[in-house]
Amino acid sequence: MVNTKVEEDRHVLVHGIRLSSVGPGRSTGSDVVHDLSGMDIAMKLHYVKGVYFFSSQAAQGLTLARIKESLFHLFCEYYYSSGRLRRTESGRPYIKCNDCGARFIEAQCDKTIHEWLQMKDSSVQKLLVSQQVIGPDLSFSPTTLIQVTHFKCGGISLGLSWAHVLGDALCASNFINKCGQIIASIGSINMQPNFHSSSGTSFKHQMSKIPAPPLSHEPLSVKQVDPVGDHWITANSCKMDTFSFHVTAAQLATLQSQISGQNQTEKMPIFESLCAIIWHSIAKVRRGSIHAEIVTICKNDPSAKLAINGIVTNAQIISTVKADFPITETDPKRLVNLLVNEAVDERRKIEELVEKDNGLSDFIVYGARLTFVDLEEVDLYGFELNGHKPEFVYYTVQGVGDEGAVFVLPAGPKGADEGRIVTITLPENQVPELKAELVKNGLGGHDLA
């Protein structure tokens, strides 16, 4: 009974939903297709969700019409993300760039931004971004959905649902940042009418340039799931819960010095330090089950020549780390060293696995093993409205497998806030214990109380 009341309240929280579509302002041309790489197809059951919160000063004078207009300009460049999925005769998915567009959702909320961010229940964030997945009708499912919610105080939130098959969180963030730039220039008097680079040229993927591993065995970071057909979401065997907490710069410093121990000169990398502590905590919660011995690390590839305009792809480095010893009895410093030095890049293996049956099988990557995703370098706060940065940016992934995933995001604009936001998706039954563990380790503080 409690559930239904909660759901009812949730319905009332965000209301006034109106759906429309936004697409490219110019015709992309006929018969333009975008081929998906093996990596793209491996990630197809995941969806990047990003929510950006803006105060009323930032949103002043910003009409829906202006946002839509800038999206029409943006999609002239990002015409891949406004196409629709099709399958070749052999069944391999690809994107037909038919200008169908992204879904645009307008909503209202009766709370203020401040009140909303105070809410403890992380799952309400789902109301600000579309939870729609691709399928069951593959050729009529949008890969990109954008929701703009107006709050009582005049602030707005922008929720982006970005199918991982298009690209990773870095791509999604670049996409939104470019949108912000276009919104700014539409307001000004001299506006460049053409924001697009040459349209109609399809992007040729190249298999990762890393050398082939000596022994070709199956990649550890990927798990093949039962065929999902055209409905691109996998079912979890248990209910998953997501929660997030803020780690201040001070807490990070304490953590780093704790881990490095006597040798204070060695600077511990932040991401790996957090991963080590969380891995340790989760292993403890799971009471040393074997699944906690192998983890997946996802990081941005600094060498990937990701042009900021238009080209979207999955370029993040996916590597696995194997610990041959029980985690719960290991010193965090040893874990950090393991994570830094012994990560095995699996991208080539993943691509080979996908290409083996030409992209027909279905896989998950996030949650196949306990996954740690490093989004520290992603310019989440680069999306500006009226010159103001967002109050808060929240990124997560939908479609995480049973092993769970941990996302490390910047807590604020670079230089302004050197802390981190950590979002963890785990099976529901492991969450309370983990929260307690993290507090014991000096993380989370009042967020997890």
């Binding site: 109106r18 110019r26 015709s27 029409f72 567009g101 009529f140």
Partner: protein
């Protein structure tokens, strides 16, 4: 000798015969006058100067007679000039260019259709088939309210669309012609399906603060041919009011008329009608004749409403669920053909050269008297006009007219390309077509243009314009950014 050669030489011979005949009949007056003048000249020469002087002296002139004759001549001349209808000039016109945010590609239209009509897959299937064969392109536009799933047409949105379309077109017209709002003497707005109170013409007067003694008219319910009806009305008014400017605004407001049900015959307009509008400046001021683009030569209106079938063929009604839509009957094409024939019969004598009319007359007499089985002679309208603007009502309409009037692909290119780029914009489509011809640089001084529009009723209206000055390719206009891509080949069936 191969058998094709005689045919070829025959057809060449026939062509020369036809050319010779046309030249003979069309210039018959000149050809008869020349020998007479030559004969007189020879006669005068042979008489010599003295003979001329004698002839002159023999004429007896009386003062009264001279005065009477001269007064008579002056009187006839004045009467002639006064009763001649004033020349009506089209100074310039402006077409509405929809913003990119209104663009509706095929895929988006189909996806929305599937979401809105999710319980009626057959209707969705039907719409898809229509869209594939419609001749529309990927850049046609619908108003903002129709982009929602489901569409949210309310009066405010309809007024919003009207303001967007009409004010944009008017602003563009003011800019192009340098016209001041205070100089508008006559205002005619035609919009068939949206008729609020106060009227759209009142809305224009309010926005631009037009004069209080303006003669304003608002025509509604008259269908896609209302644009030419407005031109006709303006022409008549400009005969009565000297030295006046008339502004005509032709548009169709889509928002309130988007059919929300699933009756197939009524879903058709949803697939074809798109946002568009045009503002035209007509004048009878002589000072404008230098810079005016066109001169109005004829307007011919034909109404087939007396026939019940014609009356009901485009009919607005409620479907079983009470949703209002426009139902198009199956014999629309046949009725259109009939209406066209009526119109041609009236306009033919006004515009066709004498050679064609003679042939037509002879064939008519021959059919009546000698042998009814003779094929009726279809006059060659390409002799009368250089350019054709056929209302882009749909691919079938253009095909039908091309066949009936025996026009080439280039003649109907303006209509087909307008249908592709802008869709069926109802009464303003003729102006987009004219704009296409100008944008292609094909309009030269002296060219004659024939605009034909069909509309509910069933009506067929024509207007004939003559180009006043060679028109340079316009820098800005609805075709400015895409004219280089046209003409495009439009496949029979577009694969969605």
């Amino acid at each position: 000798m191969p058998p094709s050669l005689p045919d070829f030489s025959n057809s060449v011979r026939l062509k020369y015969v036809k050319l010779g005949y046309q030249y003979l009949v069309n210039h018959i007056l000149t050809l008869t006058l020349l020998p007479i003048m030559a004969a007189i000249f020879v006669e005068v020469l042979s008489m010599g100067p003295e003979g001329m002087l004698n002839l002159w002296r023999s004429l007896q002139f009386d003062l009264v007679q001279i005065l009477c004759c001269s007064f008579l001549i002056i009187f006839i001349a004045t009467f002639y000039f006064m009763s001649k209808p004033r020349s009506i000039f089209l100074v310039d016109y402006a077409c509405f260019k929809p913003p990119i945010t209104c663009r509706v590609p095929f895929a988006t239209f189909m996806e929305h259709s599937r979401l809105i009509l999710k319980d009626k897959p057959k209707s969705v299937e039907f719409q898809m088939r229509i869209l594939e064969r419609s001749g529309l392109g990927e850049e046609t536009c619908l108003p903002p309210a129709i982009h929602y799933i489901p569409p949210t047409p309310n009066m405010e949105a309809a007024r919003g669309e009207a303001e967007l379309v009409i004010f944009s077109a008017m602003d563009s017209l003011f800019e192009k012609t340098g016209l001041k709002p205070k100089d508008i003497d006559i205002l005619i707005v035609n919009c068939s399906l949206f008729s609020p109170t106060p009227s759209l013409s009142a809305m224009v007067i309010n926005k631009y603060k037009l004069r209080s003694n303006i003669k304003s008219f608002n025509l509604s319910g008259m269908g896609c041919s209302a644009g030419l009806i407005s031109i006709d009305l303006a022409r008549d008014l400009l005969q009565v009011h000297p030295n006046s400017n008339a502004v005509i605004v032709s548009t169709e407001i889509i928002t309130p008329n988007y059919y929300q049900g699933n009756e197939r015959a009524m879903l058709l307009p949803n697939c074809l009608f798109r946002m568009g509008g045009a503002a035209i400046l007509l004048t009878n001021r002589r000072s404008e004749r230098r810079r005016a683009k066109y001169r109005l030569v004829h307007v011919v209106r034909t109404h087939k409403g007396a026939d019940d079938k014609a009356f009901r063929c485009v009919f607005e009604e409620e479907d079983k669920e009470g949703k209002v839509g426009i139902s198009l009957s199956k014999d629309l094409m046949a009725i259109a053909g009939e209406a066209l024939k009526s119109n041609i019969t009236t306009i033919g004598p006004l515009v066709l050269p004498a050679s064609e009319q003679l042939l037509f007359l002879l064939t008519l007499i021959g059919r009546k008297i000698f042998n009814p089985k003779w094929k009726p002679y279809i006059p060659d309208f390409r002799q009368a006009f250089e350019h054709f603007c056929i209302h882009a009502g749909g691919r079938a309409v253009i095909d039908e007219l091309q066949k009936n009037l025996q026009l080439s692909a280039e003649h109907v290119e303006a209509s087909r390309m307008t249908l592709h780029r802008f869709g069926n914009t109802s009464s303003s489509s003729l102006w987009y077509e004219l704009s296409y011809i100008e944008a292609k640089g094909r309009m030269k001084k002296g060219d004659r243009v024939w605009q034909i529009a069909f509309g509910s009723g069933f009506k067929c209206n024509s207007a004939v314009w003559k180009c006043n000055r060679t028109i340079k390719t316009p820098i800005n206009g609805p075709w400015a950014d895409c004219i280089d891509r046209y003409p495009v080949h439009i496949p029979e069936v577009v694969k969605l």
